[in-house]
Amino acid sequence: MTLTPPEASTRLRVISIVAAAAVLAAVAVTYTVRAVHRAEPIASSSEFALDPGHLYFRSTQAGAGRVARLPASGTGPRTPNGPSCERFYAAGGTALCLLRRPGIPPKSYAVVLDERLREKRRVALTGIPNRARVSASGRMLSWTMFATGDSYAGGSSSFSTRTSILDTRTGYLVKNMEEIPLTLDGRRYHSPDVNYWGVTFARDDNRFYATVSTKGKTYLVQGDMRKWTARALRENAECPSLSPDNTRVAFKKRVRGGTKNPWRLYVLDLRTMRERPLAEHRNVDDQAAWLDDDTLAYALPGRDGRKQDIWTTPADGSGRPELRVPGASSPSQVR
């Protein structure tokens, strides 16, 4: 045996193992203590409110994990120290904050915030926060979680999404929208493997768009809240985002198979159903946000050691992408 001399006495082996355990425990404890010291505190309070004319986002650098804001004009100081969120969106005097609280097991929540960014309602969830949207009026909220479970729940390779819709006026909550009657290719479609994500609401707070995936394909669906039906409009469109004038949908389109840079941002004209690629050539895995009728914002993996950056690009496919907020994600423009 090359690993151990067989003649090593039991006593010697026990002493060596105890010594090794002590060293390894010291390493583990030291590293953990240092990690505790550099931990960012979690905050639920906010040092600012939802004011028109600001771009809100989740900071990933100074005050990491908390919402911050900039004047919409693009110039002016960054105001830090909003609520702690993993994903954030705000419109019409309502903000939606998806957050995780550590514990055994960790818990997730969707927290509804008022225009002062104070908590109004909290919904307990499972999974990893992924998408969050608020309708222009602030009435309809939707969020998507990745249901992974942890290793207890039979392996992590089975990612599925769980999308909820909350009507803040009536308080009605659809915890998981996958039971919505779906029409695909003109026929009522049944399959247990349907997954929805990335809901975006129209101005009437009734019509919405979302992604449905089934049998390895994704579709853009148009939904109706009151009738509670959904209808597939076209294939290969994920994470739709409706323009403020409600005429166009920005989405990510799968342009390559596999996992290497699969998505590009496109804009679909809902009247002609014609799509147009945007000037952003990099892989975008985000539900884009419209800053106004001509500009889209989205997060990309950060440069220079930053986790994520917010970029903008013109919605008509012209121009060039621009770095808007370094060290940030979850953009939302409050008008």
Partner: protein, 460 residues
């Protein structure tokens, strides 16, 4: 010196003595008889416990780390994770083969443990690089694939034939304890450090390395194993592991395991069904498998002992009966607490009565020098057929709905249990060391020399 031991142990020793040319002294202290678990088994149990803490810590936080820590797409993680599951089958066969070559079980298993431990550092150093993370996950899977069969072979080689069920039961109970503690440790760490994933990786690495050191210090190496010296030659290729299927008893065990595996719906499906039926708070969902693991943990040793006393075939089949009971419970209109407790209990019994017991069932069919290869073949066959079952069940669910799919699964399992009972009928009719070895040289001109040459019966 054989008079003091049970008959079966005596036979095993006698056979070994003949195999090793009369060198019986090395194995003499090994068979302590029924009722005692040997040192190597306990050592391997502790190694597995510590290693499972390490690996389950990482497994529990990896999706979170990937999506929230790095801001990467869950899709990519799903791909990365699924990609390597298939590859482990081949690696497992390779690990079994490498271990059998000259009895290098400890070295091969140790390399597997070390590779998995080092993969934590890989995760730490990879940062946000997808390729680096992919390599680290691959290294972890590689390590897990390589070490499983040699480890189980070591357990079988370090235990008396009439104490195998208990030995595997003890090992599996310790293994499951580690798997339970790992996620708890990881979540506690994330809690105190406010999501410092790197701290989880470092602590996991420390546990993993400690497991390797424990193995090095306390698990016996080649010198203490009752395995013949290396038998290299043109015949000793990994492919040749499949020639073990020429042993009729082993072939039957493999066939039964594969058949029953093909009717075994994945746990994840059952938990999902349970959650749909009961509609309890989603935040409790991740805790369901804890219930199963707790039952498994408590029953692994008693069921193993029972298997030693009444034969391993009965508990193995009864365990699948428990799985069938879980299917039926989910089909019945029962609800509430009775359904929840019933299903978790049945699943726990299923694991306790089948996982380690299968290894104990297969051990007597395999020549000592080819244990690891044989176990690798058996485990791979079972894993592949279970994969097939899950895919089939998913398709049936999609096509026909959940009620019909579950009814199909229940029928398939009933047929499989009947088939398994028929296949295993003759396996245990003969005493444990009755290895129906192929006539030397008849089937395989390059037959490795470690195959038992002595007639197993009438030697004591």
């Amino acid at each position: 010196m054989y008079l003091a031991t049970t008959d079966a142990v005596a036979k095993a020793k006698d056979k070994k003595a003949k195999d090793k040319g009369g060198d019986a002294g090395k194995g003499a202290g090994r068979g302590k008889g029924r009722g005692r678990v040997t040192g190597p088994v306990l050592a391997l149990g502790v190694v597995s416990l510590v290693t499972d803490i390490s690996s389950e810590m990482v497994a529990a936080v990896l999706p979170l780390y990937f999506v929230l820590g790095l801001g990467l797409s869950p899709l990519q993680f799903g791909f990365l994770d699924g990609l390597y599951n298939g590859a482990t089958a081949f690696v497992r066969l390779l690990g079994g083969y490498a271990a059998d070559r000259g009895g290098r079980h400890k070295l091969v298993a140790g390399s597997g443990y070390l590779l998995s431990a080092l993969s934590r550092l890989g995760l730490l150093l990879a940062g946000g690089a997808t390729a680096g993370i992919g390599a680290a996950i691959a290294a972890d899977r590689l390590g897990k694939g390589v070490r499983t069969a040699p480890r189980d072979a070591l357990i079988s080689l370090s235990s008396p034939p009439d104490g195998l069920g208990r030995a595997f039961g003890v090992h599996r109970a310790m293994d499951t304890t580690g798997a339970l503690l790992g996620p708890l440790a990881a979540f506690a760490l994330l809690w105190v450090t406010a999501d410092a994933y790197d701290a989880v990786f470092v602590v996991s690495f420390c546990f993993g390395l400690f497991g390797v050191l424990l193995l090095v210090a306390f698990v016996p190496g080649r010198a203490a194993l009752p395995v013949a010296p290396p038998g290299p030659g043109p015949a000793a290729r990994p492919r040749k592991a499949l020639t073990l299927l020429r042993i009729p008893a082993f072939r039957r065990v493999c066939a039964a395991a594969a058949l029953l595996g093909a009717a075994t719906v994945g746990d994840a499906f059952l938990y999902l069904l349970l959650q749909r039926r009961l509609d309890f708070a989603e935040s409790w969902f991740p805790l369901l498998p804890l219930g199963t693991a707790a039952v498994y943990l408590l029953l692994a040793v008693p069921v193993g002992r029972l298997a030693d006393r009444v034969g391993r075939r009965g508990p193995f089949l009864a365990g699948h009966g428990a799985l069938l009971a879980a299917y039926v419970l989910l089909l019945l209109p029962t609800g509430g607490r009775a359904l929840l407790i019933g299903v978790l209990l049945a699943l726990g019994v299923f694991y306790a009565a089948t996982d380690g017991v299968l290894m104990a069932l297969a051990t007597p069919c395999l020549p000592e020098g080819r244990r690891a290869s044989g176990m690798a073949v058996l485990q791979t066959g079972q894993a592949l057929s279970r994969l097939l079952a899950s895919a089939g069940f998913g398709a049936a669910w999609t096509l026909w709905g959940i009620g019909a799919a579950l009814t199909c699964a229940a029928l398939a399992l009933t047929v499989a249990v009947a088939g398994g009972a028929a296949l295993l009928r003759s396996t245990e009719g003969t005493p444990a060391p009755a290895v129906p070895a192929p006539a030397p040289g008849a089937e395989d001109p390059h037959a490795p020399p470690e195959k038992p040459h002595a007639p197993p019966e009438g030697t004591s």
